[in-house]
Point group: C3
Amino acid sequence: MTSPAGLGGARVGCVLQAGVARVTLCHPGKFNAMSRAMWRQLRTVFEQIAATESLRCVHLSGADGHFCAGGDISEYPDFRFQINELHDFHENEVWAGLSAMLACDVPIVAQIAGNCMGAGLEIASCCDLRLAGASARLGAPIARLGFPMAPREAQLLVREVGWATVREMLLQAAVLDAAEMKARGFLHAVYGDAELLEQAQARVQQLLTLAPQAARRNKRSLRALAAATCVESTPLDAYDYADSAEQREGIAAFLSKRRARF
Amino acid sequence: MTSPAGLGGARVGCVLQAGVARVTLCHPGKFNAMSRAMWRQLRTVFEQIAATESLRCVHLSGADGHFCAGGDISEYPDFRFQINELHDFHENEVWAGLSAMLACDVPIVAQIAGNCMGAGLEIASCCDLRLAGASARLGAPIARLGFPMAPREAQLLVREVGWATVREMLLQAAVLDAAEMKARGFLHAVYGDAELLEQAQARVQQLLTLAPQAARRNKRSLRALAAATCVESTPLDAYDYADSAEQREGIAAFLSKRRARF
Amino acid sequence: MTSPAGLGGARVGCVLQAGVARVTLCHPGKFNAMSRAMWRQLRTVFEQIAATESLRCVHLSGADGHFCAGGDISEYPDFRFQINELHDFHENEVWAGLSAMLACDVPIVAQIAGNCMGAGLEIASCCDLRLAGASARLGAPIARLGFPMAPREAQLLVREVGWATVREMLLQAAVLDAAEMKARGFLHAVYGDAELLEQAQARVQQLLTLAPQAARRNKRSLRALAAATCVESTPLDAYDYADSAEQREGIAAFLSKRRARF
C-alpha cells in the first residue's frame, strides 16, 4: 500500500507490516490538521485496510508529537461559505473518511499525543482503544470559529464522548486534559508522554495474539447496534449557515490571529 | 420580563441583562421545592426566553443556598390520589416545564448548591453545564414517598444521569454527594461552596464570547438526536397507582414527619 | 421454593426469607462457571421469583468467594461446533436466563466477589445494584477462546458497561479490577473484601424499608425504555462461526491448558 503524498507533506500515511496497519496523520507545521485531501486519503487508506484480509489491527497516531489539531482552517475560506460545497465537505469528504473508519472490521488502537481537537476528536471516536499521553488535550472548540458541528459528527461524539462532555465541548468550547477525559470514560488509559508509544505497541502486540475472526464479528455486531439508532443522512438546510456573518467572522478572526467578535 | 410572584414568595424569577437570563428557583422555607404554580412559571419563563432572540445564555440557580429540594409535598394530597389529576400534573405541568427548558436554544448553566432532589435533579438534567458546590447533595428518593417516577422524567434522567445511577436513586433512594456525581459524569465541575457563584459567572461570561448562532444550532442538533429515541407520551394507566395505599402512606408519613411503613 | 441440584453440586440456589430471595451461583471447583443446566435453573429461579408477589428484593451472589467465572468451557465441545446447537444455546438457554432476570420486577442486588467474567458479567449486568469486593476482577476475555459475543448479550453489556469498556473487553480481552470498574460507572460501590457481605446485606435491609410497588413500577418503566432500542432476535447466521478452526482452536487450547495459536 502506498502512502499518498500531499502538498507540503500533508498526508495520511499507511504502512502494512506483520498483520498491522500503521496509519499516520501528518501535516507538518499544523499539528496534523486534516486538509480536504487528507480526509479523502483517510477514506482510501481505510478502504484498503478493509480489503486486506490478513490484517489484525490498525495502529493510528499523528506525526511529531500531536494527534490531530482539527480541520485545516486555511482551506475554509475556499468552500465553507457556499452551502452546497459546505454540505459536500461534511457529508461526503469528512463523513466518508469517518465512515470508512467505522466500517473497519479490525480493532483500531489510537495513540493520542498532544492536540486532539475537532476532526482529531472525531477520528479518535472511530477507534476502539484510545490511549493518551498525559499532556494530551482534547476538545472541539469550534464555537470560537463561528460554526456548529455537523449533525452526524455530533451523533458520533455523543455515543463515544457522552452527552455531558459533548455539550461542554460544543457550547463552552471546553478543552479537557487527558486525566479528565480518562475520568469521563473516553480514554481507556493515560500514560506518561515518554512511554505512550511503547504502551500502544504493547497493546497492538497483544491484539495480534487474540482470535482475529472473533474480533471482526464483534466489531460488526457492535456496529449494527450503533447503526440501529443512527440517522442516515443530513438535510441540506443543516448547512444554511454557510454564508452567515458569524462563520465569516470566526474564520477570518482565526486566520488573522485575532479574537473573534460575535 | 416580569417575575411572577406566588403565594408566600414561591416563584421562578427571571431577570434579563446583557444577553443573560438569570433564572432563580425560589420557595422560602422549602429549599425551593417546586409548587404547581412554579412549574407553570418555569414553562412561561423558558417560553419567554425562547422568544428573546438577543439572549445568549441562561444562568439558573436556586435561592438561599439550595438548588431545589423536589416537589412541594404539601400540595400532593390535593391532587396525587386521583388518576386524571395525577396524569395532568406530570404530563402537563411538570413535563411542560421541563419541555420548555429542553426546547431552549441557548446554553443553560446550572449552579447547584445544597439540595438538588427529585424535581431539582430533573431541572438540572435539562441544563447544559452543571456546576455544583462541594456540599451539594443529589438524588430522587421518592421511594420513601411511595410513588414511582413518571416515565418521561425517568427517560430524561437515564440519558443525563445514566442507567446505573438512576437505578440506585430510584430503587435504593440513594442520595449522592457532589464529588460522586462528578465522578459519575453528571456534574461538569465541583467547586468549594464559597466560590461556586463566581465560577458559574465566569462560565457565563465565557459563553458570551462564543458564537451564538452556532450554539443554537448545536442545541437543536443535540435535541434532534435525543428525540430520535424518546417516547412521545405516556398512557393514563402509568398513573393508576394514584389511589394506592402505598402512595397515601408515603405522603402521609412525610407530612406527619414520621417514617413510612411500606 | 426448592433449589435444583445439578451434577457435581453445580446449581443456582434460591432461598426465600422475609421478602428476600437469596440466589446463589454455585459450581464447586469452577468459580461458579455457568453450565447449561445452571442457565436453565437461572431462568426457573427468576420465573419463580416473578411469581412471588411478596418478594421485595433479590440478593444475588456466588459461592466460595467468587461471583461467576463465565461459561463452563468443559461442556463447549459438546455443542458449540454445530450452528443450530450453538444458536439454541445462546438464544434459548443463555438469553432465557438473562431475560428472566431482566423481567424481574423487584430490585436485584449483586454481591460481586472474585471472578466476574463473561457469563458472570452478563448476569451482573441484569442487576440493579452492583457492589464488589476490592479484589474482584471483571471482563469477558472470550477473544482468547476464539469466539465472539452473541449480539443480544453484547447489546446488554453496551447499555450497562458502556461502549468504550465493552470494546476493550471484547477486542483486547481486558480484565479490569473493581476500582477501575467503579470509575467506569459499572459498579455502584467497592468495599474491602471482608466487609462486602455485610454491606450488601445492609443495602438489602434498606430496600425492604422502601415502597415495594413504586420499585416494581420503576423497574417496568426502565425496562420499557431499554426495550425501545433493543433488537428482538438474532439471525441464525450470527452463529455460522460454529465449525470454525478459530473457535475449535480456542476451546481446545483452553481445555489443554495451553496458549491458543490464532
